[in-house]
């Protein structure tokens, strides 16, 4: 039996891979902070609608770009992360191996597809998944993945492929771990900064496919999806992917809206500010309405009930969320201005 060198690291599932990984690493390094707080402080709630050849079909995002949780959290709190990426696979592997030898757990960016401890239906090619490497022997790495209930083993060769695969947002062996955590983080200030950024991104970005504008674009475009789908099954698949993107792909439910509501509740307690508590409840209700979209998309997709009227109904539901969120983030911005 090959003995595994394992760092004493508490594995916890998380809602999202990046916020879960950053939170777990901060906790490991002595900072007691929750995943919603990390997510909220980094100002990551978002919306964007994309039509790009890098995706097999038009798609949307419900959080800001990968890497921004670590970056923005660091910027708003003073926490410093050591980061590295590599041209040479050998150097990238050696760097991680040396960190493990020195008992330093490190987050690595990988193609999600290669995480073969997860069920096959869950794994897709996407180069922006994050896991923490917490151990190694001659054949395998031991990882803590926010999407898996236990610590998992993955072969060294699979991990190497996952870290050095080419393609859109290629990982290039990217890794990070906290190297400095200030003794007295001004969390109050960081919370306000995170809220400001979130509200600004949702309501004021002058880009027609981002924030609330992105939701409206999505609502407008979704009725045209039948024209670009290969057939009814393909259309059904893409409509049902709306549910996956909102609920299943590491959002904490309702496209991060529940995670953000939890952040606002924690913020209200931390800042002793009741208005955030009201906003938190409002966001929870908005989340419930997004979840209704999830249920609706799954149902019409499964039944192949995808005629113009049904898609118009879906479009109206998305537009309603845009109205609600425009009002919500405008009010939220006023509270922190």
């Amino acid at each position: 039996m090959v003995i595994m060198k394992e760092i004493n690291f508490e594995h916890k599932m998380g809602a999202h891979c990046e916020s879960g990984t950053v939170t777990a690493l901060l906790n490991h390094n002595g900072l007691d902070i929750s995943e919603p707080m990390v997510f909220g402080i980094s100002g990551n709630i978002f919306f964007g609608y994309f039509e790009s050849s890098n995706f097999p079909f038009p798609t949307f995002i419900v959080r800001n770009k990968p890497g921004s949780i670590r970056k923005n959290f660091g910027k708003n709190t003073g926490v410093k992360f050591n980061t590295a990426s590599f041209k040479s696979k050998e150097k990238g592997e050696k760097y991680v191996n040396d960190l493990i030898s020195n008992n330093i757990p490190t987050a690595v960016q990988v193609d999600f597809y290669y995480m073969d401890y997860l069920p096959e239906w869950q794994r897709v090619h996407i180069n922006v998944h994050f896991v923490t490497i917490i151990g190694k022997n001659e054949t395998d790495y031991l990882v803590s993945d926010s999407y898996f209930p236990e610590k998992a083993k993955i072969s060294i060769s699979r991990m190497s492929k996952a870290r050095f695969v080419n393609g859109f947002m290629a990982p290039k062996g990217f890794l990070f771990y906290p190297e400095y955590i200030p003794d007295n983080i001004d969390l109050d200030k960081a919370i306000i900064k995170g809220i400001k950024k979130s509200a600004y991104n949702m309501t004021k970005l002058p880009v027609p496919f981002l924030g609330i504008k992105g939701m409206r674009k999505f609502a407008k475009k979704v009725v045209g999806w039948p024209k670009i789908a290969r057939d009814i099954d393909h259309l059904s698949h893409e409509i049902m992917k709306i549910t996956l993107l909102l609920e299943d792909q590491g959002t904490g439910g309702a496209g991060y809206r529940y995670l953000f509501a939890t952040f606002l509740q924690e913020a209200s307690e931390k800042l002793n500010e009741n208005s955030f508590k009201d906003m938190s409840k409002r966001m929870m209700e908005i989340g419930d309405n997004w979840r209704n979209i999830s249920y609706f998309a799954a149902k019409i997709g499964k039944n192949r009930d995808l005629g113009p009227e049904r898609l118009k109904e879906l479009s109206n539901m998305i537009n309603d969320r845009a109205d609600e969120e425009h009002l919500f983030f405008t009010d939220l911005y006023k509270l922190v201005k």
């Binding site: 599932m13 998380g14 809602a15 879960g20 995943e35 919603p36 790009s52 050849s53 890098n54 995706f55 097999p56 597809y113 290669y114 069920p119 239906w121 869950q122 897709v124 090619h125 926010s146 999407y147 898996f148 209930p149 492929k161 695969v165 080419n166 393609g167 859109f168 290629a170 099954d233 393909h234 059904s236 698949h237 049902m240 549910t243 996956l244 609920e247 299943d248 590491g250 904490g252 439910g253 309702a254 529940y258 995670l259 509501a261 939890t262 509740q265 938190s280 929870m284 989340g287 419930d288 979840r291 799954a298 997709g301 499964k302």
Partner: protein, 156 residues
């Protein structure tokens, strides 16, 4: 959403959702995936249909193995082109069998790597003759030679 309304029993696919607890506080809960529990059969049916339809086109030489795997693995053209080290225009040309057969072996290897399959799998599909697939296991083992694999068929 209330904790009790969210919980789904489905062990193979677990995730964390944020919910409203009984005491009105919000927090995480581990649950099975609602989509996986209720809609996996539908997903597998669709994939099976696509595979059969693409296989027919492949047999007739209407599409190349590059197109076959691109669709089955849900790649965007831009992403796949970048992984295989070709332009999008070139990639689209390689969707046609007539152009695929002109490719250098080194380029075919890059496609195989992008699809995470052996080079040989771009030239053959190994299928079970019977429907009872579970009784036969097919294991492909890579060797030090990246162009050569060993396929072992085991009948239980």
């Amino acid at each position: 959403m209330k904790e009790k309304d969210v919980y789904v029993e489905f062990k193979p696919h677990q995730l964390v959702l944020y919910v409203e607890k009984d005491d009105d506080s919000f927090g995480p809960m581990q649950t099975g995936s609602f989509m996986a529990k209720n809609y996996l059969d539908d997903y597998f049916e669709k994939v099976e249909k696509w595979e059969k339809s693409l296989r027919e086109q492949l047999k007739k030489g209407e599409i190349s193995p590059v197109y076959y795997y691109m669709i089955l693995q849900s790649f965007g053209e831009g992403d796949l082109a970048s992984r295989a080290g070709v332009s999008k225009r070139k990639l689209r040309q390689h969707f046609q069998m007539s152009n695929f057969t002109k490719l250098k072996l080194s380029q075919i290897k890059k496609y195989a790597e992008a699809f995470d399959i052996p080079v040989a799998s771009l030239f053959q599909l190994i299928l079970s003759k019977h429907d009872e697939k579970r009784k036969i296991s097919i294991k492909q083992t890579v060797t030090q030679n990246p162009y050569f694999i060993i396929t072992k068929v085991e009948i239980a």
